[in-house]
């Protein structure tokens, strides 16, 4: 089951971008552009794993909305354009898990979301693309229910592609995340891992090569 994320952001452009990005990566999202509407909806449906709250909101603001989140035990990451430390301090002292300041990068936000989910024990550890399932806890991969054995490096590359599915993962990102920052060897090793993943899991068309950029695991 994928993680459910509540987004409360009054700027439509930002809300749509964040929602779309999280959805393609496998998250289940609900977005509201008004604090009051969001608070009201919680009464009926509060099965969220995380809330992304803008601070400046019409209706009731992010700080106030935080109290509602606490009632349902939903961890909170604030999205704010306020860089003044006063609001940061207030946000964090109230018990928010994290905050992110505009303008922010989606990858950064996703890393933070993942960290919060992991810390609160809510992180979905099972990723799925077509009939391939990856469990990051047990480090097992199955295809159509049958276990497929992968080398550790192959597993790590697949995990990253699955985590950011439908998004381009750059070669640099893959190299640093899987092989480490100080890796200075041939990047051809990456091409080899991708080649064997495609072959072992029959993902030839799902793992797309984006020349000079990187790879993208697509399921849409």
């Amino acid at each position: 089951m994928s993680n459910r994320i509540l987004i409360v952001e009054d700027d439509e452009a930002i809300a749509s971008a964040v929602t779309l990005n999280l959805q393609v990566a496998g998250y289940d999202c609900a977005a509201f552009d008004d604090g009051e509407k969001a608070a009201r909806s919680l009464a009926e449906d509060h099965a969220y794993d995380l809330a992304l709250l803008d601070i400046m909101l019409p209706g009731i603001d992010g700080f106030e909305l935080f109290d509602h989140m606490q009632r349902y035990n939903i961890p909170v990451i604030y999205i704010t354009a306020k860089t003044d430390s006063a609001s940061e301090i207030r946000g964090l002292r109230d018990g928010a898990e994290d905050y992110i300041v505009k303008p922010f990068d989606m990858l950064t936000l996703m890393v933070r979301i993942e960290k919060v989910l992991r810390r609160t024990g809510r992180l979905n550890t099972v990723y799925r693309v077509r009939d391939v399932e990856l469990n990051s806890e047990t480090r097992t991969v199955t295809k159509g229910g049958r276990i497929v054995y992968l080398q550790p490096m192959e597993f790590d590359v697949l995990l990253l592609l699955m985590k950011y599915k439908n998004m381009t993962v750059t070669r640099e990102q893959l190299m640093t995340e899987v092989w480490g920052y100080d890796y200075v060897g041939e990047t051809r090793v990456l091409d080899i891992k991708i080649f064997s993943l495609r072959k072992k899991l029959d993902l030839g068309d799902a793992i797309r090569t984006l020349p000079k950029l990187g790879y993208r695991l697509e399921d849409r």
Binding site: D10, A13, I14, S16, V24, R216
Partner: protein
Amino acid sequence: MKLWQKAALSCVAVLAAVVAVCSAAMLLYARHTILDISRQQTLAKQRDLAASFSEMAGYYLLDTDSDTVQDSLVRYCFDRFADDTSVLMRGGEAVSSALDIDPSALAGTAGSQPWSSLRDSRDVFEGKVRGRDILMASGTVLVRDEEYTVYTVVDVTDIHRDLVRMALIFLAVSLGGVGAGAGAVTLLMRKGAKPLAALSAAARRIAGGEYGIRADVRSRDEIGALAEDFNTMAGAVQRHVAELSETAERQRLFIGGVTHEFKTPLTAILLHTRLLQRVNMTEAERTASLRHIERQCTWLESMTQKLLKVITLRQGIVKKPVPARELADRVRDSTRQLMADRNVTLETDCGGEVLLADADLMQSLLVNLVDNAGKAYDPGGGDRTVRLTIREGVLEVRDAGRGIPAEAQERIFEPFYMVDKSRSKKLGGSGLGLALVRQIADAHGARLEVDSAPGRGTAIRVLLPK
């Protein structure tokens, strides 16, 4: 040395000099007068004695008498008139003397007083004999062809002593006077200098940044006037400093506001660009993303235009005569599309008057007000009119829209203030429109008035200076 000390010292010096000269002159004059009187008395006494003696002796003495008889008679006659100051001499010998000194010897040694007022000054001698001050008058008389010298010798030691005592008393009184004077002058000068010290202290504290400090000096003299001027100056300095820091604070807030306002559209553009770069999107999603980017860019562009205007406005404006009608027409032309989109009618009402203004800026001001007024209407039917009136230097834009809550009315001209932020954003508001209106009004020296009630509409008036 401080000014008051200098002044006090010179005052005391002058006082002392004047007192010394006066005292000396008085002393000398008194001495002269007293001694002169003594001389005259002595001389008169001597003349009296001599005359009486010679008359009596001339009467009693006979040529026939023997020398001894004559001597006795002379002595007798002399002693009849003599006292303890009288001496009679004949040919260098004392005939009768109450004194144990030889006056004739004295006459040679003691000098006469050259400045004496006596006519017969040569007959008066003064001198010191055995430590005593002596005044001596002499004169010769003839008795029976015999020449006698009559002396009156007066001891004036006491007079001299009294004079010295008097001088001492004078000196003491003078010193006391000068001392008292010095004290008084010092006190006065110090009191006079105190306000200056207070002024100086106040000036130092103001220099240290305490602009609220005033010199507490209340006197009617020039120092009081100086203190008043000083306080006026301190007030002006305080006002200017406050104005400057207020301007700086406003600018800081403004720049902070600009940065803040730019963050949201920039974030949106960044996020959508990344989406387009990295995510396999459907055609519909791609189009939506691009539209978001375009809209954010348009908003940024209009915001930049307004910012530019706000910034250039700070460099001053040029006022020229503008016919009100022409201004209204220009506003109508440039808001035609906006008004049509919102289904709002713009009515203008102005006479033939000519305003003194920067036409472009005044147009921009009115366009902003008209645009805002148009936004005040929620979708729906009813009266949807914006009225622009220009009469007697008052420009008014009135609508019958949703109105502005009382607590928000004071803040609407602040940069980036929006009564309903999400509503404004949806209508493409930047939060700078009314801030620009205020800037333009300020540049023209015009006053702004807001007349509004929620649900009943808003009128904003620009009152140009007379």
